[in-house]
Symmetry: none
Subunit: 206 residues, 4 copies
Amino acid sequence: MEGRKLPRRERDKLRQRREILTAALGLFAQKGYHNVSMHEVAGKSEFSIGTLYKFFPNKEELYRELVVEESDRFHSEMVRVLEGPGDELERLREYIRAKGEIFEGSVTFIRLFLAETWGPSLDGKGRPQEEVMKRRLDILDRLAAIFAEGVEKGRFRALGAPHHLAVALDSTINGFLLLGLGQEPFRYPEDPSLILDIFLKGLIKS
Amino acid sequence: MEGRKLPRRERDKLRQRREILTAALGLFAQKGYHNVSMHEVAGKSEFSIGTLYKFFPNKEELYRELVVEESDRFHSEMVRVLEGPGDELERLREYIRAKGEIFEGSVTFIRLFLAETWGPSLDGKGRPQEEVMKRRLDILDRLAAIFAEGVEKGRFRALGAPHHLAVALDSTINGFLLLGLGQEPFRYPEDPSLILDIFLKGLIKS
Amino acid sequence: MEGRKLPRRERDKLRQRREILTAALGLFAQKGYHNVSMHEVAGKSEFSIGTLYKFFPNKEELYRELVVEESDRFHSEMVRVLEGPGDELERLREYIRAKGEIFEGSVTFIRLFLAETWGPSLDGKGRPQEEVMKRRLDILDRLAAIFAEGVEKGRFRALGAPHHLAVALDSTINGFLLLGLGQEPFRYPEDPSLILDIFLKGLIKS
Amino acid sequence: MEGRKLPRRERDKLRQRREILTAALGLFAQKGYHNVSMHEVAGKSEFSIGTLYKFFPNKEELYRELVVEESDRFHSEMVRVLEGPGDELERLREYIRAKGEIFEGSVTFIRLFLAETWGPSLDGKGRPQEEVMKRRLDILDRLAAIFAEGVEKGRFRALGAPHHLAVALDSTINGFLLLGLGQEPFRYPEDPSLILDIFLKGLIKS
DNA sequence: GATGAATGAGGTTTCATTCAT
DNA sequence: AATGAATGAAACCTCATTCAT
């Protein structure tokens, strides 16, 4: 979609870049940033170390771009869902389902995502975290907007600040994602729409 | 209570050990395991490197013992609260309050705790995580028991497996703890007993 | 004979490897395994420490390969001589001469060889020694075979087990080699074929 | 004999010193100088590290004194035998027997002795070696004197410089000692007076 | 005097990054 | 342009030696 009009040279570059990032994603997710050497990334991606440094100025930046791009993919998908059709309840259900689906697709991604959301920063200065957090906050805002809308329309009870409701819901989802981490392929421990109704029960006006 | 009767030599040893762990806790929590050198721990704790190795056979073990001891302090406190007096609802409220209180006391601890709960393992083999996870699962079991008891007594609606309810509640709490991470001293974003009622609204039979 | 057809890259590698081993041989022979640091080997061989580790996984292995290769060179030469033409007596004389000659070429090698034959093991577990000892025992067996052959042909008196005669002869040679250690270049203290006749006088039937 | 008249304080000191050296002998002989820590010597000798340093200014000196004293014990015994009664042949036989006997008594000692005779020096500067070598040369001189005497008296053939005959005999003995190293307790591989007659056969005038 | 806790220099090894080919 | 051999800073860890108690 994006690359159609690029000259072949550019397209190749992008493809190579993506291959490197894909290899790196697997390694970083499995072993953590500090237990993966550039040598390993070079080996798995089947590029030379020199080539890696053509694409990324250093290891940290490679990692940062990886995290940011994965975050972006995730974020766009979530935004798409949250802006989708359907009433408030339907969109929340869809969010829960879609978030699970993405994680189903790649447990590797969960690990990376969690590491970045919760783990210590790479170097005590924490730059990729900020990028991830910015996107997470955007999602939380959109969730909050849905809650606010629901309240306004009289469909939800006004049970606290919409932002806090968003935090509560999203954290609960994350908890269940973590529960499923051991298994491969990942699955929610139960039907998510059932399980997470629990969370909503108190909200919905009878 | 514990150390009164130990000979002075032993008490000194324990005190020194604690000083090392305290220094290490600060550094590890702030910068993460791989960004802290033994040299730094020696500097901050004001012991020599050699002395660190008298107390801990290697860096990983120093970290592991640190994590396990902090985990234990946290776990005991949570168990105390969950086994405390009061009906099911009171004990849950107390749990929420106490968990927040411990984190208030030391934001450093939150970082360590989260890193261990969610972060990548130290070496891709993940040992201290297991110890932490064991304790978390024990807490979840105890929370689940409270939910089960509440349901049995007819005070809670039977809204899903008690274990899943426990996961949902605890994850929500963690979400709010994370929200408060930036601030120092830490505080729940709102009165926790109000905020978290949200979560419980659906459960409690009107 | 061996390297003619190798691609240049491979030849370079082998040459570098040999340069490292040569530098290491000098140092280890002069100061002993434990008094030589990798830093020193790097310095003397004019490679960086990192490069040493490209060729050898660790210091012990560098040493082991050094010892084994030197042992091999020595062993092959001795086998060549012992399987050479000539009657029993001529081959023994040739062995004595050739052993002396090799040592003449490199006093450094004597030191290494003796250290491995007689010295304490590197780590109390003694692995390179075994390789060296295996080769020494092979030589002793070949010497013994010559003695046995001489006895069988009626040229030597049957003065004890051939293996013991071999031990006696070889030890005597070693004794003279040690005598010459101080000097550079090394020389047998006297004409070896004269000196060592002493040893054989009792054996040869008048 | 030496300590009878010393005040008790002095006697105690000497006894302690000896206990340290005995413990150290065992360790050094088994593992080699560089694989034994002062901590280990302290542990095995049941003295504190501080006490070790009261007796010896540093590790190297402890080792050196150990080697020199063991060398002395050995040297005196050999001198006693070589200056003993009997004709030249009897004294040589007695030397062979006695050297074997000492080694029988302590394989640990063989290891130390061989390490010092043949091994690399401790620090590339090789001081204890010189002490040992001095004593070995003295023994060789005394052996040579016996050979010279035998020749002079017309009992031995004049088969080369007496010193070289001494080297040849002593090296042969060492060779057999090494052969027996694996076993515990040590024994010559055969009756030494038989085996080593081989060496002398050529010398003795029929 | 005896002790052993404390020190820190120095050892081995790893790995991000550079640059000649 | 691509490669990967070479580099060396910096990490972990040991242990001979000192010195306060």
